[in-house]
Subunit: 357 residues, 3 copies
Amino acid sequence: MFPRNAWYVAATPDEIADKPLGRTVCQERMVLWRDAEGQVHALEDHCPHRGAPLSLGFVCDGRLTCGYHGLQVGADGRTVAMPGQRVGGFPAVRRFPAVQRHGFVWVWPGEPALADPARIPHLAWAESPEWAYGGGLYHIGCDYRLMVDNLMDLTHETYVHAGSIGQKEIDETPCTTRTAGDEVITSRFMQGIEAPPFWKMALRANGLPDDQPVDRWQICHFHAPSHVLIEVGVALAGHGGHAAPDAVKVSSIVVDFITPETETTHWYFWGMARHFRPDDAALTAQIREGQGRIFSEDRAMLEQQQANLLRWPDRRLLALNIDAGGVQSRKVIDRWIAAERAGMAAPTAPTPTAAAA
Amino acid sequence: MFPRNAWYVAATPDEIADKPLGRTVCQERMVLWRDAEGQVHALEDHCPHRGAPLSLGFVCDGRLTCGYHGLQVGADGRTVAMPGQRVGGFPAVRRFPAVQRHGFVWVWPGEPALADPARIPHLAWAESPEWAYGGGLYHIGCDYRLMVDNLMDLTHETYVHAGSIGQKEIDETPCTTRTAGDEVITSRFMQGIEAPPFWKMALRANGLPDDQPVDRWQICHFHAPSHVLIEVGVALAGHGGHAAPDAVKVSSIVVDFITPETETTHWYFWGMARHFRPDDAALTAQIREGQGRIFSEDRAMLEQQQANLLRWPDRRLLALNIDAGGVQSRKVIDRWIAAERAGMAAPTAPTPTAAAA
Amino acid sequence: MFPRNAWYVAATPDEIADKPLGRTVCQERMVLWRDAEGQVHALEDHCPHRGAPLSLGFVCDGRLTCGYHGLQVGADGRTVAMPGQRVGGFPAVRRFPAVQRHGFVWVWPGEPALADPARIPHLAWAESPEWAYGGGLYHIGCDYRLMVDNLMDLTHETYVHAGSIGQKEIDETPCTTRTAGDEVITSRFMQGIEAPPFWKMALRANGLPDDQPVDRWQICHFHAPSHVLIEVGVALAGHGGHAAPDAVKVSSIVVDFITPETETTHWYFWGMARHFRPDDAALTAQIREGQGRIFSEDRAMLEQQQANLLRWPDRRLLALNIDAGGVQSRKVIDRWIAAERAGMAAPTAPTPTAAAA
């Protein structure tokens, strides 16, 4: 249950730096590769000759070459050459639109004619020298929507991440959720609290005192089909919190691209875009390591939750106020799927509010 | 195919000393946990909020707390609290009767109203300072009834355990089998034989000579639903064997609690209660290590036997005289299952003859 | 989809030197064992007593003895003895004809009455002191016919084995394929090329110069049900190539016995019989190691090809001129299967032309 006419993050550019990569996105098995000019392409991972995966092959003269018997295809999926063969009548390999942009490789697993690169979310932080990004990739054994739920209800931090970023104020402070077109926004504002360790470090890094009360915010933005960008930060208390002037605050965006693989597995591209000390590579590495540890705690929980959902497939779950973010996000997803099935035009482009933040 | 209205050993107390434990008994997925007073409880391992396993949580103020978003349940399965929520209307979590007794945690996977703790077998050796117990737990990939068969026909020792406890006299000496209510007893008496190494050690440990002929016995007691207690021992020859006075004999009980997990897997709680040198902890450890090695030989055989039964599901097997213990035990099991299906009262309590031995 | 009335290689003699071996051939689970005289037998791997695998047992007094309770069967599958039992009425264990010959253990998984050992291919090189053989066994996760395809179209060497035996001349030189009865022969002759490293070594080993142009040949012989023997070699250019006198050439046979296990797995007995320096054991070991590395490259490709065929079960593949060897081999296999289903006599014995080479 996922929209197919949508842009998904399929890989990071380094994954296809040297050789093709086989990856399944929305149950479509693809090979991602780069031509001689470095442009990214995606084809069905299946050689028309004997069915070998093209991802076991290599790129030669800008053509994807099958590693079994040397059949060569171009970016459009047409066979260009094969030793000793006339290839005119060979069936074409199915093509998936693919674009490298903002530090990610995006693919469109559905109808190619509908794939408009202008609908790839604009990630301002990915293009700005004032921001730094670091992240990683996890393969996670659960429905991608469980990850959306997880990220749209951060009260879990108090429990799943009790040893790191969780603090009691999170699940004591109510959140508000609203839907704006194909975006869902869940916001939580904690006033006059003590900053947790990560933010104390960030305050110091920005030349701000770390021993004063702060206003902390968490603003989760779901964009269809399945991207979650979370604005997080602290400002010295009493200056307006999220709206405070840059001089008294420090902020980041937690980046989550959640790409369905099958009905019960997904690719989780996680990371943090930070708006302080962008040139500090050691800090980038340190944050990546911390996030990797934290998201592995989510993975453990989500995979066991998935196992339970398969164990009790008919059990109804609760949808509380804290679940509104996930519930409303699923409604957007369902609307996209319904529109796709009805053969209607694809929904309007998402408005990347977090990206513009 | 197992009775559900029955007490099964689900865990040893140390397994839930610090934190909850998830375990499947008779295809019911449970969380076992201890409240503030140390009392043991069992609930379905499923949080009513989002379906997360409660076994990933922790106990706080004597309540089982979900590790995902902090929902708290009491021993009766009712939700007691959750941050920011009114929990009055939350559905209850299914409860399974659970009791800690005789060094084991017992659960009743069936109808709670029928669960009478008085029907838990009385294990006199577990409460007596004259006895010592040591044991372990194996997860075994076969129908629990194959383990019952295995333990009710000890001629396999000559073959499976040729390198340790097996001796030719075992499969040369006929056994007798009888059913007494819900108990099945298979007995084998070997007269005037040389004691095998384990019993020579035990004789010496009891101040008895190890170089004289002995009378050896093996009396296997099956109790429904699936417990096997085996009286084993030797007496100096000619003093009455099993009935000889304590001064000329040495004895133990091989303890086997066999708890179905699925149709083709079970939890095997094995151990030995011994009636000599009860305070010798090093001896306990040594015996446990030896038993662990021996029972891993059974595991290897039984898992391959199970694979063969699945490979040839319609193949009829032989039921020889040596198989009478297993055959009669299965009849008792079938009677319990039939009674359960007919909605009849649970069978009468087992008479733990071995326990009383 | 495999013929059952056929001789397949099931094991190498050393695999059953000390104890019985359980192996599945054409979906038949067998135990292979050796009696007191060293003669090889095959029975269904299932004890009639309790269904334990006989392959977990041992041979005692020339009888196969079950390792669970000691039931003993003879070569004909009849129970001969069991401690404390009269075995006259015990059902017989199914027997599979088995023969050790030419350095392999052959079994006939089908109708025993049709099993004529004279139809086992005669491997002259296995009996001649002028030849040496070395090889290994891989369990491969694909339909055995994909391995036949692989070996009957060596253009894959240019791609799959680019780092070792592949050379551009292979896929640039056309091949010819013909069927002769139940044999399919694909031949490729490369004239006046530079010898690849393996053959340079072989030329030197035979006292021939390694810096002169050679004529190279690859003649693949498929024999039903699934054996592929490949004549390979080089001769100094201009002396007739494959037909050149022994003094100016060096040659080997690549040996491939491909035994179906299930529809999607097989046992691959691979090796090389070489016609030079037969007494050089170090050379045998070195060639075996090199072949093992090369065939593991095939394994990686074939298992992924199989995964793709299962992913797209209805996708039609191409059958090009280079695929003629595989296509014609499958026709022979299909003919054998059809004859078997029609209850007709087994096809005529294969003519092992490569073996006679």
